[in-house]
């Protein structure tokens, strides 16, 4: 059973200085992403055969804590596998994500935003990726996509899933709550279906609009 009333919006090329930029809105969560690259890399970070990807996540208030560092590491490991880094050795690709407004779902929103910004910057990718965040309500056996903080607290389990665009397999997952194997498979399949039905078509539409406009 599906239940969806989320509002997804995105905008490409909203900043003039970064090579690629994107703004992604899910309900009330807004994230902004800027990409620079491929460009000059510091000697310390230089890798001989591939590009060096670095991710910076700036929280809405306050300084960087562990939560931000973990997210930066997760995103970098995802991007390292997706960007064709061997095409640009001894360069740096910098991805910066700024949290503008946060009403839960920040992980999924940032990942989608990063994907769009990379496409806007014309960085070669093996495939694009889409991220879906959903929560499973126990008694009613239904799934809420992009839940807000209150819905997430009341749910049995919630998770953020990242799928690739070619085989629609799982690239990354991050769950919270206690569940068993069947519930996990149920939510995984539904999340995959949502990505295929809603998110990948949204990306296609945005890219078409961007290039038809030019």
């Amino acid at each position: 059973m599906l239940f969806d009333s989320s509002n997804l919006e995105a905008e490409l090329g909203c900043l003039t200085k970064p090579d690629g930029s994107a703004k992604f809105t899910i309900n009330d969560t807004v994230q902004l992403c800027g990409v620079y690259g491929p460009g000059e890399v510091k000697l310390m970070k230089e890798i001989a055969e591939r590009a060096s990807v670095s991710v910076v996540y700036k929280p809405r208030v306050g300084l960087n804590t562990n939560r931000e560092k973990v997210f930066e590491y997760t995103l970098r490991s995802i991007l390292d596998g997706i960007i064709i880094t061997s095409l640009h050795p001894r360069t740096a690709i910098n991805v910066i994500i700024q949290e503008v407004q946060n009403d839960s779902n920040y992980l999924a929103c940032s990942l989608n935003c990063a994907c769009l910004a990379l496409l806007d910057a014309n960085i070669p990718l093996k495939y694009t990726f889409a991220s879906v965040s959903c929560a499973l309500i126990e008694n009613e056996n239904r799934i809420i996509y992009f839940p807000n903080a209150k819905q997430e607290k009341e749910s049995l389990m919630s998770g953020t899933f990242v799928f690739d665009s070619v085989d629609k397999d799982l690239i990354s997952v991050n769950t919270s709550g206690v569940f068993d194997q069947d519930q996990f498979n149920f939510i995984l399949n539904n999340a995959r279906q949502y990505a295929i039905d809603k998110i990948f078509p949204l990306f296609n539409k945005l890219i078409n609009q961007q290039y038809n406009k030019n």
Binding site: L15, T16, K17, P18, S21, D28, V30, L32, G34, Y36, G39, E40, V41, V56, K58, R60, V61, G62, A92, N94, I96, Q98, V100, Q101
Partner: protein, 294 residues
């Protein structure tokens, strides 16, 4: 990454254009670029842009122990970060000289001029006060961060609502927004800065320099003023000497602009309070639509 260096051809072109009173974006020498203020749904959050320079401001509040030297005053912390998103040569980590200078100017203009009444932030003298923290991030750098950041702080602070607290004996209870309406912060005046860039040993001046003009300039004059023609900050930096008349002229220009800017900001803030009643989440508005500056 490294900054793209300035070429001699670009420098010559900018100076020659100024000799004929022309600027590259077709503005007059005294024009400020279009200012847009974008308030977000969260209270105390806004994105301000002057031309293409965009800065986001986020306000948050915490209860802390006050400083020993000022037991019945709250604390105001302003932190401007040159986010690596703004330009490719901005780095994370230790602040560059430019970052330190900007933070110091904002502190002088806003904290030392007492634009926010910090005595009203006291909850329990000597023990608990509110600490208001403003985080500024440069999203896009196309010149003149200071003016943009200044307006962002003023808008964000006026937009922010502080949760109500009640003190009973030893306990302090913080009310959630559902229980009691949060209260606005009390600002005494609005000190707005204006940046002037000087070229060729002070011969030519422009208001609100773009990034290219900032690279070519000899020196910079920053004047912070409020609408009552009180000067809150003045800083002259760079490699030049100015005459008394030049500085007086700049002060007059500032007074003129500040009056119009204060009106514009006030109008926008009034609109957001009415927006709340209509439950509109984001509002963007542009200065150029309202008035023409000469």
């Amino acid at each position: 990454m490294r900054e793209v260096p300035l070429s001699l051809a670009e420098y010559d072109f900018v100076i020659k254009a100024l000799q004929d009173n022309l600027r590259l974006d077709r503005r007059s020498v005294y024009d400020i670029r279009d200012i847009k203020i974008n308030f977000l749904k969260t209270r105390g959050a806004c994105i301000v842009s002057i031309g293409n320079t965009q800065i986001s401001a986020q306000v948050s509040a915490d209860i802390v122990k006050p400083k020993d030297s000022r037991p019945n005053e709250g604390i105001l912390k302003i932190n401007l970060e040159l986010s690596p998103m703004g330009a490719q040569h901005f780095e994370v980590g230790k602040q560059s000289d430019q970052g330190v200078e900007l933070n110091r100017l904002l502190e002088k203009n806003l904290k030392q001029s007492r634009f926010l009444d910090i005595e009203t932030l006291c909850i329990r003298a000597g023990e608990k006060v509110w600490q208001i923290r403003i985080d500024l991030n440069v999203l896009n750098y196309e010149g003149n961060i200071l003016d943009c950041a200044n307006i962002a702080v003023i808008c964000a602070v006026s937009h922010f609502r502080l949760p109500e607290v009640s003190v009973t004996g030893d306990q302090i209870k913080i009310f959630t927004p559902e229980e009691r309406n949060p209260i606005p912060l009390i600002t005494i005046h609005m000190p707005i800065t204006l940046s002037f860039a000087f070229f060729d040993q002070g011969k030519y001046l422009v208001v609100d320099p773009t990034e290219l003009e900032e690279k070519c300039m000899d020196g910079k004059l920053v004047i912070g003023m409020n609408r009552h023609r009180e000067i809150c900050t003045m800083q002259l930096s760079g490699n030049m000497l100015l005459l008394k008349d030049q500085i007086k002229r700049c002060v007059d220009i500032t007074a003129n602009k500040v009056a119009k800017l204060t009106e514009f900001i006030q109008e926008e803030l009034n609109k957001t309070t009415s927006d709340l009643d209509q439950n509109q989440s984001v509002r963007t508005s542009s200065l150029a639509d309202k008035m023409s500056l000469t």
